[in-house]
C-alpha cells in the first residue's frame, strides 16, 4: 500500500473514532431523547472528548500513523485539532446554560445549584484551557521544555480522568453492560497508546543502547554529536529524518529531544546529529564526555529525498537547517548518486557557516553546486548577500526547475519567503518539502 493511501486510510479511521461515541450512545437500548439542543450539546461534548482522547494517539509516535505524514505534520495536527476540540467542549455547556435550569443557576452564580457533574465538567474544561495556554505561550510564560512536558502529560491525564468522571456523574449515556464495556475498551486503547511512548518504547530503547563516540564543535554554536551502536546493528533511517535522543539518563526519563541525523543513511551503526545551542538542554551539550550512554527513539519524519524521487534536487537552507541536508548529501555520495544538486545555504556571517569542509569534500564527490548567502559578508566577499530573495533564486535555480524536488529547512520567515517565491515561479506545491524544527 502506498504511503498516500495509508495516510488517507488513517484519516478515515480518525474520523470514525471521533464520531464513534455518538454511535455507542444510541446502541442497544438508548435512553429517551431530551430535545434537539440538549442532545446536540451532549453530542458535541462526546465528540470533543473523543478528539482529546485521540490526542494521546497522535503523540504516541506510533510508526504506522506518523510514517505517511511525517511526525512534524502529525504534531501540527495535534496542536490545531486541540482548538477544534476546545471549541466543541466550550459550546457544550454554553448550550446547557441557555436551555436548562442548571445553566440558569450558573448564570446567577449560585454555587449550591451546580451539581457535582457540573463541577467536574467545568474543571475538565479549565484543564483543557490550561493545557492550550501553557503550550501556545510556553516560551512567553518562561516554562522550560522539560517542565512543560511533565505538565502537559499531567494535564492531559487530568482532563481525561475529570471528563470520564463527569460522564459517569451525568449518568445518562453510560447505562447498560454493552455501553460500559465499550467505554472501558476505548479508555484502555488510549492508555495503551500513552504506555507505548512512556513504557514500551523506552523499554525497547534500553535494549539498544548507544555510546557517545565524539562531540565535534562546528561554527555557528553548532555541535556534531556522533553515536556508536553498542552491541546491536544500529538504526535504519532515511536521510533527512530525525530521532529523539536521551543522553546520560534512563530512556524512561523526560529529558529527550528531537534532532536531525547529519550522517549517511548507509551507516546505521555510527550516526551523527547536528545540534545548535539555543538554550535549555542544547546549551549544555558540549559538556558530555565521550563514552556517555545514550538512547535513540526513531527514526521519524518525511523530509527525505528517498520519498520524493526526481531528476535533480534543490536544497534551500538557513543555519542549523543544513543538518538533514548533510545527511541526504552524504547518503547520495555513498551511493554514487550523480544527479544534479543545488544547495543555497544562508547564514548570518562566514564564521557561522557549519560543515564548510565536509560540504567542500561532498562537492567533489557529487554533482553539487553550493551557493552561500551571507547577511553580513566579509569585505572581500563576491558571493550572494542578504536574505534568500526571489532574485537570488532566479539567478541560481537550475534548468528544468519544474521537475526538481525542493527541500527547505531553516528559520520560519526564510521558509515562508522561499515557499512563496517558489510558488510564484510556478513550482508545483507537491515538489516543495519543508521541515520545521520548532514543532515541539
Amino acid at each position: 500500500m502506498t504511503l498516500a493511501l495509508r495516510g488517507a486510510l488513517w484519516l478515515v479511521v480518525y474520523l470514525a473514532a471521533v464520531i464513534a461515541p455518538l454511535f455507542f450512545m444510541i446502541v442497544g437500548d438508548p435512553p429517551p431523547a431530551r430535545g434537539f439542543w440538549m442532545e446536540l450539546s451532549a453530542a458535541l461534548g462526546f465528540v470533543g472528548l473523543a478528539m482529546l482522547g485521540l490526542q494521546f494517539v497522535t503523540t504516541s509516535r506510533f510508526g504506522p500513523i506518523s510514517a505517511p505524514y511525517g511526525l512534524d505534520l502529525v504534531l501540527k495536527f495535534h496542536i490545531q485539532i486541540s482548538y477544534v476540540a476546545f471549541a466543541f467542549l466550550l459550546i457544550h455547556p454554553i448550550i446547557l446554560t441557555v436551555i436548562t435550569p442548571l445553566g440558569s443557576a450558573l448564570i446567577e452564580l449560585d454555587p449550591t445549584a451546580v451539581e457535582a457533574d457540573g463541577v467536574t465538567g467545568i474543571l475538565a474544561l479549565g484543564f483543557v484551557f490550561l493545557i492550550i495556554v501553557t503550550s501556545v505561550w510556553r516560551e512567553k510564560l518562561g516554562l522550560h521544555y522539560e517542565l512543560w512536558r511533565i505538565l502537559h502529560g499531567l494535564l492531559g491525564l487530568a482532563i481525561i480522568v475529570m471528563s470520564v468522571w463527569h460522564i459517569y456523574l451525568a449518568n445518562y449515556y453510560t447505562d447498560g453492560p454493552i455501553r460500559l464495556a465499550i467505554w472501558i475498551a476505548m479508555s484502555l486503547v488510549l492508555i495503551g497508546m500513552y504506555a507505548n511512548v512512556r513504557l514500551i518504547r523506552p523499554w525497547q530503547q534500553l535494549r539498544r543502547p548507544w555510546i557517545l563516540e565524539s562531540l565535534e564543535q562546528q561554527p555557528g554554536d553548532t555541535w556534531q554529536l556522533k553515536l556508536r551502536a553498542d552491541g546491536h546493528d544500529g538504526m535504519q533511517f532515511e536521510p533527512g529524518q530525525f530521532a529523539w535522543i536521551t543522553i546520560d539518563q534512563s530512556p524512561f526519563g523526560i529529558r529527550e529531544h528531537p534532532f536531525s541525523f547529519s550522517s549517511s543513511a548507509e551507516r546505521g551503526d555510527l550516526v551523527s546529529f547536528g545540534v545548535k545551542e539555543l538554550g535549555d538542554f542544547t546549551s549544555t551539550i558540549g559538556e558530555y564526555e565521550p563514552g556517555t550512554r545514550a538512547y535513540l527513539d526513531g527514526p521519524y519524519g518525511a523530509f527525505s529525498y528517498e520519498r520524493n524521487e526526481a531528476p535533480g534536487f534543490v536544497f534551500v537552507v538557513g543555519g542549523i537547517g543544513i543538518t538533514p541536508v548533510m545527511s541526504m548529501l552524504k547518503t547520495m555520495a555513498d551511493r554514487g548518486d550523480q544527479r544534479p544538486l543545488k544547495l543555497l545555504y544562508a547564514n548570518p556571517s562566514w564564521d557561522q557557516v557549519a560543515f564548510v569542509d565536509e560540504l567542500e569534500e561532498l562537492s567533489d564527490q557529487l554533482d553539487l553546486e553550493i551557493v552561500h548567502v551571507l547577511e553580513e559578508p566579509p569585505e572581500d566577499w563576491d558571493g550572494e548577500t542578504g536574505m534568500v530573495t526571489p532574485e537570488i533564486l532566479e539567478r541560481h535555480l537550475p534548468a528544468g526547475e519544474q521537475r526538481h524536488e525542493y527541500f527547505i529547512c531553516g528559520p520560519d520567515p526564510m521558509m515562508d519567503a522561499v515557499e512563496q517565491a517558489l510558488h510564484d515561479r510556478g513550482i508545483p506545491g507537491d515538489k516543495v518539502n519543508l521541515e520545521r524544527f520548532d514543532f515541539v
Binding site: L11, Y14, L15, V18, I19, L22, M25, I26, P30, A33, G35, F36, W37, E39, L40, A43, L44, V47, M51, G70, L73, K76, F77, Q80, I81, V84, A87, F88, E419, G429, D430, V432, N433, L434, R436
Partner: protein, 31 residues
C-alpha cells in the same frame, strides 16, 4: 504546502464532526 494540508484536514475533521453531532441530535429525537 504540506502544512496547509494539515489545516485542511483539521477543518474537514471539525466540519464532519459537527455535522455528525447535528445528525445525532436529530436522529435521537426522531427515534
Amino acid at each position: 504546502m504540506r502544512h496547509t494540508m494539515v489545516t485542511w484536514l483539521v477543518v474537514t475533521t471539525g466540519v464532519v464532526a459537527a455535522l455528525a453531532a447535528v445528525v445525532f441530535a436529530l436522529l435521537a429525537n426522531a427515534v
